[in-house]
């Protein structure tokens, strides 16, 4: 499956079904992240329920602390 993630077309493995899987795939750690899926902002508790499909547009913004 291919997803448009933060402006880049990226291939994800077949075990990626939900937004929570997308987050696990792209981050090594457990991030604080805001997700927009096909133009809709998701509440955190919906990440494991939200199914992704080929061609979906996903914006991921991680909160970091350095400065």
């Amino acid at each position: 499956m291919k997803l448009l993630v933060n402006g880049n077309h990226l291939q994800v493995p077949s075990n990626v079904f939900t937004i929570a899987d997308v987050i696990t795939h792209f981050f090594k750690h457990d991030p604080i992240v805001i997700v927009e899926h096909n133009g809709i902002i998701l509440e955190k508790n919906n990440h494991p329920k939200q199914i992704v499909a080929d061609g979906d547009k996903i914006e991921l913004v991680e909160f970091v602390g350095g400065g």
Partner: protein
């Protein structure tokens, strides 16, 4: 009258009127590291009226790669960052009033610093202080601009009380750590990118061009060439304890304050003693002189007992270098400072 600001005045959204407004504004810069020095230099060159710069740390060699106001001499002399920053900023523009504060910001200090401030710029390195800034911003109705970097990644968001969601709304949880400059490093271009976003938003607010504000949460990675921009307005939570209908400002309470902090990128723990009051560094230096190498300047005392180095400031704060372990740092602190 010289033409120092002529190009900025020619930029029509600012103009002469905006320039005059800018000269009357007071910005509180929390942090004088990479983001703080970058933002401060731009605002001072732009002709802001006053900047108060606050930082608890001093200049080290590892800062020079990205913290643009500092020199090798500052690192050699372990100058407190705000002192070195003030000195350089006054060379750049003597018309701007620069106030330098060597302090570790707590809610108490924030309550004192906030008087007369038009805008707070976040140039800090941890979420504990950002959540304090967030509550202060809501309580006193002063906008603030979040900015952060790690590795080649940057993020920024402008928080307007009564209008946008606050940081508490956006995070939905208290951060428990993650990547830091310690583990992932940081490159200078991403600092400059976040500084550009923060300072542009600052100029809009300070010249009363609020309609031009970005209004979106942005992030970018300058190495993997990714970027994101999200409208987060739906995150504004009417029951938020920081910005909702019945705020309690939870991060201003004593219980929520941290007494130790691991410093980003430094392999260092800061210990903030519960007992307030000015320390007699001369006496402490004499006491330590037989135990290890002691060096002093008028701002701090540095004590080395390999493999650790402990630095004490007049207010009693201690930086324990050579460890990121808070327990070990406390142990060293009590061993040498009683």
């Amino acid at each position: 009258m010289n033409d120092r600001y002529s190009r900025q005045i020619l930029f029509s959204p600012i103009g002469q009127e905006g320039q005059e407004k800018l000269a009357e504004k007071h910005v509180l810069m929390i942090g004088a590291g990479a983001l703080g020095t970058g933002n401060a230099e731009i605002l001072v060159r732009s002709g802001v009226g006053k900047i108060t710069i606050v930082d608890r740390d001093y200049v080290e060699w590892s800062n020079l790669q990205r913290q643009q106001l500092y020199t090798e001499s500052d690192a050699n002399n372990r100058m407190p960052k705000v002192i070195a920053a003030k000195s350089r900023l006054e060379e750049i523009n003597q018309d701007v009033q620069i106030e330098a504060k060597i302090i570790d910001v707590t809610p108490l200090e924030m309550g004192q610093l906030i008087d007369g401030v038009d805008l707070i710029i976040d140039a800090t390195d941890n979420f504990d202080i950002r959540l304090i800034i967030n509550d202060i911003s809501q309580k006193y109705r002063i906008p603030w601009i979040y900015g952060a970097v790690v590795a080649s990644y940057g993020i920024s968001y402008t928080i307007l009380p009564n209008e946008t969601p606050c940081l508490h709304c956006l995070l939905q949880q208290v951060p428990m750590g993650g990547m830091t400059c310690d583990t992932a490093g940081v490159i200078s271009p991403v600092v400059q990118m976040v500084v550009a976003h923060q300072s542009a938003e600052a100029l809009k607010i300070l010249t009363d061009n609020q309609e031009a504000l970005r209004k979106r949460l942005i992030s970018f990675d300058l190495w993997t060439n990714q970027q994101a921009s999200i409208d987060v307005s739906t995150f504004k939570n009417t029951s938020c304890l920081s910005c909702g209908e019945a705020p309690t400002y939870p991060h201003l309470s004593y219980e929520s304050q941290t007494k130790t902090a691991v410093l980003c990128g430094r392999d260092t723990v800061q210990i903030r003693p519960t007992s307030a009051g000015k320390r007699d560094l001369q006496t402490i230096a004499a006491r330590l002189s037989n135990t290890g190498k002691v060096e002093q300047n008028s701002f701090l005392l540095s004590f080395t007992s390999e493999p650790h180095r402990l630095v004490m400031f007049h207010d009693g704060r201690v930086l324990v270098h050579g460890t990121s372990d808070v327990t070990e740092a406390k142990s060293l602190y009590y061993r040498y400072f009683g």
